[in-house]
């Protein structure tokens, strides 16, 4: 999966998880709080993303994730388990 494809998939995934959001407003630069996610919502989103993308977010590194692009970068650097 190339970066553009991954970005599209992550944005599509976030749009499916966040209530009342227009997918076209989500970009790699979107910060979680700008999407209306509080800290617990963000943790829940990352948990759901683990199952969706076959990755495991490291407990410490998660604290540095602020934007949609951070998730895309993280998944890009940590290919799905068993496939990398």
């Amino acid at each position: 999966m190339d970066t553009a494809e991954l970005e599209a998939k992550v944005i599509e995934f976030i749009a499916s998880k966040v209530e009342n959001i227009d997918a076209s407003t989500i970009t790699a630069a979107s910060k979680f709080d700008e999407l209306g996610l509080d800290s617990m919502d963000t943790v829940q989103l990352l948990f759901d993303a683990e199952d969706a993308f076959g990755v495991t977010f490291d407990g410490e590194e998660v604290k540095n994730l602020r934007t949609v692009g951070d998730i895309i970068d993280y998944i890009g650097k940590h290919p799905p388990e068993g496939k990398g």
Binding site: E19, V43, Q44, E50, F57
Partner: protein
């Protein structure tokens, strides 16, 4: 001070909503089926009373569903019914509105699924703890309705719902609340929880091919209880205040008694059961002679039903055979912390309607169970004082008394 019931709600294996539940209870409808919610192949007891067709999406958002265990969802559904039934509580201050709920296991569905993930080295859901904690259901009810007074949860195994209703009575009598949302909720038709009860040889294992006849309190051939699930919720308040706001009143919650065996962690004890019933009747300011219906704990275990029968005979003496008894669990199985709340609703409906629901699957009684259990067919009788029993692991014995006004 007189405390009354002004709202009721239920989610049960034989109906969600008071009307369908009661119609099916009176008709003696069986709610025990082969387990649908997971593959029970590894269990010896592969049947249960499950709440069928329950869809939390009809009243919760996707985010709320993610943050709640099934026992909380069942509790919320029953609470929604009870609050709508009770009508507006706006005449009370929010800080005077309390919740007192019972659950034996709490969010064990979440506990089991999160544990399974952990053992597979997967992350656990961030809401694992707030979904599991036993007070989750009470907290969600408070949040949904802005009930800002005391928020209590009682976990006394199979007597949790009865203790919670008794605690609600105490809150009202002591003046610590003006209205209390109370009852019990449980959702432990689950692989690990059931394996645990199996290990104690508490569950029925001989009726996997005939689930409709598995839950058979007081009957010959009973071989253990059938796991159930559900929620029963009552709204309680002072009679004078309820009348003032023009509320519909179902019954009076007149008495509450509890006693601990202090002998064994799981074995039942006659003396403790007698004490709980006696204290509840005294607390109601009534006499033994006034009790004219008993909603029995009656789980369908070989020992438990005999002990309860003996306890009723010991307390009521010669009059015991004249008191109609029925076992709601014969139709829905044992919903642990919800069971006494559901039994209370059955008792209240008996007071309301003059109909006693049957104990089903009672073609032939155990010779040691020789009282009037209202076998197989509903009975018509004007009942004015109903006793509801709940006995739980830990040696907990609880009885509550409901009366007509």
């Amino acid at each position: 001070m007189r405390i009354v019931v002004t709202g009721m709600g239920i989610a049960s294996p034989i109906g969600t909503g008071i009307d369908p539940f009661w119609k099916n209870a009176v008709a003696g409808v069986n709610g025990i089926v082969n387990i649908q919610s997971f593959d029970p192949a590894k269990l010896r007891s592969r049947i249960a009373g499950e709440v069928q067709g329950f869809d939390p999406a009809t009243f919760l958002s996707a985010k709320q569903i993610e943050q709640t265990d099934r026992f909380t969802q069942l509790a919320l559904h029953a609470a929604n019914q009870a609050m709508a039934d009770a009508g507006s509580l706006e005449s009370y201050e929010p800080r005077r509105l309390a919740v007192s709920l019972g659950s034996g296991m709490g969010g064990f569905s979440t506990f089991e699924s999160s544990a399974a993930r952990r053992f597979q080295s997967k992350s656990v859901p961030p809401f694992t703890v707030p979904r599991i904690m036993a007070n989750s259901a009470a907290a969600w009810i408070a949040t949904q309705y802005g009930l800002k007074g005391a928020n209590l949860t009682c976990s006394t195994a199979c007597s949790s719902g009865a203790n919670a209703i008794g605690m609600a009575l105490d809150l009202l009598r002591s003046g610590k609340a003006d209205a209390v949302v109370t009852g019990g909720a449980e959702a432990c038709v689950l692989p690990l929880t059931m394996a645990g009860f199996e290990a104690l040889f508490a569950l029925s294992t001989g009726f996997n091919n005939d689930p409709a006849h598995a839950s058979r309190p007081f009957a010959k051939g009973r071989d253990g209880f059938v796991m159930g699930e559900g929620a029963g919720i009552l709204v309680l308040e002072r009679e004078d205040a309820a009348q003032k706001r023009g509320a519909k009143i179902y019954a009076r919650l007149a008495g509450y008694g509890c006693a601990c065996d202090a002998t064994h962690i799981v074995a039942p004890d006659i003396d403790g059961q007698v004490a709980a019933m006696q204290v509840a009747i005294e607390d109601a300011g009534m006499t033994l002679a006034q009790v004219d219906y008993i909603n029995a704990h009656a789980t369908s275990t070989p020992l438990g039903d005999v002990i309860e029968t003996k306890a009723i005979k010991q307390l009521f003496g010669e009059r015991a055979p004249e008191i109609p008894i029925s076992a709601t669990k014969s139709m829905i199985g044992h919903s642990i912390g919800a069971s006494a709340a559901i039994g209370s609703i059955a008792a209240i409906m008996t007071l309301q309607t003059g109909t006693i629901h049957p104990t089903i699957n009672l073609a032939e009684a155990d010779p040691e169970c020789d009282l009037d259990y209202t076998p197989n067919t509903a009975a018509q009788k004007k009942v004015q004082t109903a006793l509801c029993n709940a006995f739980g692991f830990g040696g907990n014995n609880v009885s509550i008394v409901f009366t007509t006004l």
